[in-house]
Symmetry: C2
Subunit: 153 residues, 2 copies
DNA sequence: CCATTTAGTTGGTGGCACGTACTAATTTAG
DNA sequence: CTAAATTAGTACGTGCCACCAACTAAATGG
């Protein structure tokens, strides 16, 4: 009855569960996980293709295709860089931004529903612990979790 | 400095982080996430193609291809069912079992490394909370998290 | 027995990711 | 100030993965 998963198993299972929720909600809008990640990253940035590849941890040739498909659907735009004639900036369109917001909202609702299985105090403790873990990890890897709050300087 | 993510953002970020670790470690053995999931599911089951589709939440035609590729690499076997001449049972080969174990071990090592960013007490609290969340969620959905411990009867 | 349902495969389509090879622009060296 | 090296991005070919629709064969049940 009171079976307990190992920490490793628990995190693995949880990640599949959360990804499943994300996938379902994204799928309702005909978006894949990677498209959602793309829109998410672009919410507070207008990176070059190259920076996008780093942010998404993809090969730059993968990003070409990804942005192609998103652009074909009117979710993002390619804008020539003003300072480097080789470079291309990628930015969200209004439609892309709207879709990203919708998806985020319904995903958030699902996750809140999931979290309601825990008493409020536990819920809060969990998110606090995960937050601390992520912040520590990000710091160690020189990643800025909050580009909108504290833009890279 | 002490920025705090929302519970929803925290879980989303964490799931991407954990999936990334899994993907990297699986990739070292030329396995994809779905192949790893396949091997994981087969560790304590020998389901039919159909049951496999339910377990992995895939279309049965997707499972055909998935098992094809795994079989071509000698990771799984197709065994005709003794009781239903239409049905096919899928089981791990020794090679598949070994690969799954290796992958699980190096993934576990990575996750433990990640968790070491938290003090031991927090680490334990986190895994306890996540465990409770998963158990509650599984119970609500009639999913058995522990088929090896308590086989479906 | 014949109609229906079920298990699994096949074939077609599209998304996604990679490596390689390429063009064009920029930077660096001499 | 050019020639070489680097960088940004794309094009193309390959393979994996997922779906749907159509199909065969076996089981089920009137």
């Amino acid at each position: 009855m009171e079976a307990r998963l190992s920490a490793v198993d628990a995190l693995a299972q949880l990640s599949f569960l959360v990804q499943g929720i994300l996938e379902r909600r994204a799928g309702e809008r005909d978006l894949s996980i990677i498209q959602i990640r793309l829109l998410g990253v672009l919410r507070d940035r207008t990176p070059t293709m190259n920076e996008l590849a780093r942010l998404l941890d993809l090969d730059k040739s993968s990003v070409t295709g990804l942005v192609d498909r998103a652009q074909r659907r009117g979710l993002v735009e390619r804008v020539p860089s003003a300072t480097d004639r080789r470079a291309v900036l990628v930015s969200l369109t209004d439609h892309g931004r709207a879709l990203a917001a919708e998806g985020a909202a319904s995903f958030a609702a699902d996750v809140r529903l999931l979290l309601e299985r825990l008493p409020p105090a536990d819920r809060d403790a969990l998110s606090e612990l995960v937050s601390r873990l992520l912040v520590a990890h990000a710091a160690d890897h020189g990643i800025d979790l909050f580009p909108a709050i504290r833009p890279a300087g």
